[in-house]
C-alpha cells in the first residue's frame, strides 16, 4: 500500500499494463518526450521506447482511427486526448467507427482500445480547457464510458479498461489529478467496469454522482451528517455507460429520495438519464421530486473566476438540494 495521487495512480496503471502486455501501446500529443501536459505518461517513453509511446501529429482523428486499426490488428492501444475540449475532431472516429465496428461486422472485427481523456473545470482553464462532454458518448451504444473519482478507482478501472475488449472512454478529471490522495495497493488489481460503488452508506436520501463532483458530494453528505444528522447515501457511478442502474435503484427504493450531481450542463447531462430511469422504474418508491445539481446550460466554463464559480456546482448547492429533497 502506498498513498498516491490520482495522476500517479494513472501513471502506474499505464506502466504496469505496458509491462504486462506488449500489445499495449500509447499514442497522443506530447505524451512522449514531455510525458503529457499533466505528466500522466511521464517516464514511459524512456522506459518503453518511442515505438510504444508515440508522439502523434496534432490530429485527434487519426490518433483514434489509427488506434482502431491497430486494435483490429491485435494491439491494445491507449490513445490520449489531451483535453476533452479537443475531442470533437475525433468524433467520427470515436462515435461512428470505434463504437460501431463490432456491431457493423457482427462481432468479427473489434477494437479494444482505451481512450484517455482529460476533462473538467475548476482549475481556471476557461472555455476550452474545462469541458465535460461525456454525454455525447454516454448516448452512444457500443462505448463504455468510465469516470473515476479517486486514485484507487482510477488505477483499478484503468487496468480493467485496458484489459476489456470494448472501446472504453476513460475520463480523468484534471482537478482531481493532484488534489486527492488515497491508499493504493502495490499488487495488481482491477475494479469491474459497469459497477457503481456505494461510497457512503445512508438511509435518508440517495445522492448519485461521479468524478470530481463525487468528492464534493461526499463533503456535502458529511456536512449534512454533522450539521443536521441526516444520512446521505452517496453512490459513485464510476462507469457512466452502460449504467449500473441496479445499484442506485436499490438505494432509492430504500431512501425514497434522490439527488443527482454532475458537472456537465444540465440538459441531457447524465442526470437526465438517471432521473428518467428512476421515474420509470422506481416510481412507486419516490417520496420527493428528483433533484439535479448540475452545470448551467451555458456553452462552457468561462475563465474569469466569478464566472467559473458560477458554473461549477458547489458543496453549498449540493447541500441545498439535499435539504430541499429531504424536507419535501
Amino acid at each position: 500500500m502506498a498513498v498516491m495521487t490520482y495522476i500517479d495512480a494513472i501513471t502506474s496503471a499505464l506502466r504496469e499494463e505496458m509491462a504486462r502486455d506488449e500489445r499495449v501501446f500509447m499514442i497522443g500529443e506530447d505524451i512522449g518526450a514531455m510525458g503529457g501536459v499533466f505528466k500522466a505518461t511521464k517516464g514511459l517513453q524512456e522506459e518503453f521506447g518511442s515505438a510504444r509511446v508515440i508522439d502523434s501529429p496534432l490530429a485527434e482523428g487519426i490518433i483514434i482511427s489509427s488506434s482502431i486499426g491497430a486494435a483490429m490488428a491485435g494491439m491494445r492501444p491507449v490513445p490520449e486526448i489531451q483535453f476533452a475540449d479537443f475531442i470533437a475532431p475525433a468524433m467520427d472516429s470515436i462515435v461512428e467507427q470505434a463504437a460501431k465496428l463490432r456491431y457493423r461486422s457482427a462481432g468479427t472485427q473489434t477494437c479494444p482500445l482505451t481512450v484517455r481523456v482529460c476533462y473538467g473545470g475548476g482549475v481556471g482553464g476557461g472555455l476550452y480547457h474545462s469541458q465535460t462532454n461525456t454525454s455525447w458518448f454516454i448516448h452512444t451504444p457500443g462505448l463504455i464510458v468510465v469516470a473515476p473519482s479517486s486514485p484507487y478507482d482510477a488505477k483499478g478501472l484503468l487496468k480493467a479498461a485496458i484489459r476489456n475488449d470494448d472501446p472504453v472512454l476513460f475520463f480523468e478529471h484534471k482537478k482531481l489529478y493532484r488534489s486527492v490522495k488515497e491508499e493504493v495497493p502495490a499488487e495488481d488489481y482491477t475494479i469491474p467496469l459497469m459497477k457503481a460503488a456505494v461510497k457512503r452508506k445512508g438511509s435518508d436520501v440517495t445522492a448519485i454522482s461521479h468524478g470530481y463532483m463525487l468528492q464534493l458530494t461526499l463533503q456535502a453528505a458529511e456536512k449534512m451528517h454533522k450539521e443536521q444528522g441526516a444520512e446521505v447515501e452517496v453512490i459513485d457511478l464510476r462507469t457512466l455507460a452502460p449504467l449500473d442502474k441496479d445499484t442506485f435503484l436499490e438505494s432509492v427504493a430504500r431512501t425514497s429520495r434522490a439527488v443527482v450531481v454532475h458537472e456537465a450542463n444540465r440538459t441531457l447531462g447524465i442526470g437526465a438519464e438517471i432521473s428518467a430511469i428512476i421515474a420509470e422504474e422506481a416510481f412507486d418508491c419516490l417520496d420527493a421530486p428528483i433533484a439535479r445539481v448540475t452545470g448551467p446550460d451555458i456553452p462552457a466554463v468561462p475563465a474569469s473566476p466569478p464566472l467559473e464559480n458560477f458554473y461549477m456546482p458547489s458543496v453549498e448547492r449540493i447541500v441545498a438540494a439535499l435539504e430541499r429533497t429531504l424536507e419535501y
Binding site: A51, S65, A70, R104, S105, C285
Partner: protein
C-alpha cells in the same frame, strides 16, 4: 525516417520477390487480370439487374467501368494483407476471395452475410480475409487501414494495407490526417485514389484546385504517381511496385488512377449532371475490350475463352443467388447482438420495476 525491412514468416517471403516494373508480365498474370475484370463486371451487372428487378431492398454502388483499377490495385494480395474498401469497392471481395455466396447473402441482407444483415449493400467487410468492414463515412476506412499498417509495422509483419478512396474523399480532413500520419511513420500502406471524375454529382474540379490528385502526395513526403486507371497492366505494375516497397519498409505510396464510373453514383442516380459525350468517350476506353486487344496482340486471347469464363461466372453467380435468396433473414431480436463483447439482451428485454422498501434504520 526509414525503417529496417519487415521480417515476415518464411512462407510469406518466397512470394515477395522484388517486383520489376520494366519486365513484361507473364501470360498467367495477364490472363488473371483479364478474367478478374470480366468477373467483376459480370457480378456487378448481375447485382444491378437484381436491383432493377426489385429482388433486394436497398441500393448498390457499382464500379462498372473502373475494373482495371479495382483489379489491378488489389490482385495478388496475400490473405494476411488488409484491404480498406470504400462504398465502391464491393468487387474487392472477388479479388480477395470472399465466397460469392456470402457476397450475395450480403446483397440480400441475410443472416448468412459477413455482417449478418447489418450494413447496407455498399459496405461489406470480411474478417477471415482481412477486408475491413467499412462505415459509410468517407475516408473512415482509410484511417482505420492506416492503423492496421501501424500495427503491421509494430508487429514487424510484412503484410501491407491497400486503402481505396475516390477523388471526392480527398477533401475530407480524415483523408489528410491519414496520409500525413502514414508519411510521418513511413507505414506499409498503399493509397489507391480512384479518380473517376465525379463524387456523386460534384465534378473533380470542385473538390480540389489540382489537375492530378497524386500531387497531394508531396504534402506528405510520400511518393505519388498518376496512372491510367483504365489500363489494368499499368495499374497492376504501379500497385505491385508500391506494395513491394511497402513490404520492404520504404513507406507509403499514393497512386491516382484516372478512370470513370459508367452508371450513376448509385442505382437511384440517373447521373443527369454529366456533360453530353462524356460517358461515350469513356465507354470507348472500356478497360475490358482494351485488355482483349492487348492480349490478342500477344496471342493470349480468344472469344471462346471469354465465353467459357462468362459461362462459369454466370453459373457461380446463379448458385450464389440461389443460396442467398433461400437463406433466412436475421431474427428481429438479433439486432441486440454484438454491441459489446458481452450480451445486452437481458438488459434491453427485461426491465425490472422497483417497489418501495422500508428504510433500514441506522
Amino acid at each position: 525516417m526509414t525503417h529496417p525491412p519487415y521480417t515476415g514468416s518464411s512462407d510469406e517471403l518466397h512470394r515477395l520477390a522484388a517486383f520489376d516494373t520494366h519486365a513484361p508480365l507473364e501470360e498467367g498474370t495477364l490472363g488473371k487480370l483479364y478474367s478478374y475484370m470480366l468477373k467483376c463486371r459480370t457480378v456487378e451487372e448481375r447485382i444491378r439487374l437484381l436491383y432493377r428487378q426489385g429482388r433486394f431492398s436497398g441500393n448498390y454502388f457499382s464500379a462498372v467501368g473502373q475494373e482495371a483499377t479495382e483489379v489491378g490495385a488489389t490482385m495478388d494480395l496475400l490473405p494476411e494483407d488488409t484491404v480498406a474498401p470504400s462504398h465502391r469497392n464491393f468487387v474487392t471481395h472477388i479479388m480477395k476471395g470472399t465466397p460469392l455466396k456470402l457476397m450475395f447473402a450480403h446483397i440480400f441482407l441475410r443472416k448468412a452475410s459477413p455482417d449478418q444483415g447489418r450494413c447496407a449493400q455498399a459496405h461489406c467487410g470480411y474478417a477471415p480475409l482481412n477486408i475491413i468492414t467499412p462505415a459509410s463515412t468517407i475516408a473512415a476506412q482509410l484511417a482505420i487501414g492506416t492503423g492496421v499498417a501501424l500495427a503491421n509495422k509494430m508487429q514487424k509483419k510484412m503484410s501491407v494495407v491497400v486503402a481505396l478512396s475516390g477523388e471526392g474523399s480527398t477533401s475530407l480532413g480524415l483523408w489528410h490526417e491519414s496520409l500525413n500520419f502514414a508519411g510521418v511513420q513511413q507505414l506499409p500502406i498503399v493509397f489507391i485514389l480512384e479518380n473517376n471524375l465525379w463524387a456523386e454529382s460534384v465534378p473533380a474540379q470542385l473538390q480540389s484546385a489540382v489537375a492530378d490528385f497524386s500531387i497531394k502526395a508531396q504534402a506528405y513526403g510520400m511518393r505519388g504517381i498518376t496512372v491510367d486507371g483504365n489500363d489494368v497492366v499499368a495499374v497492376y505494375k504501379a500497385a505491385q511496385e508500391a506494395i513491394y516497397g511497402a513490404r520492404q519498409g520504404v513507406g507509403p505510396t499514393l497512386i491516382e488512377c484516372k478512370t470513370y464510373r459508367w452508371y450513376g453514383h448509385s442505382e437511384i442516380d440517373p447521373a443527369k449532371y454529366r456533360p453530353v459525350g462524356e460517358l461515350e468517350y469513356w465507354k470507348s476506353r472500356d478497360p475490358i475490350p482494351a485488355m482483349e486487344r492487348y492480349l490478342t496482340e500477344r496471342g493470349f486471347w480468344a472469344d471462346s475463352w471469354k465465353q467459357e469464363l462468362l459461362a462459369e461466372f454466370e453459373r457461380e453467380i446463379d448458385e450464389a443467388i440461389e443460396f442467398a435468396e433461400k437463406s433466412p433473414y436475421p431474427d428481429p431480436v438479433d439486432a441486440l447482438d454484438h454491441v459489446f463483447s458481452f450480451s445486452i439482451r437481458e438488459r434491453e428485454l427485461n426491465r425490472k420495476v422497483w417497489a418501495p422498501q422500508v428504510a433500514v434504520m441506522v
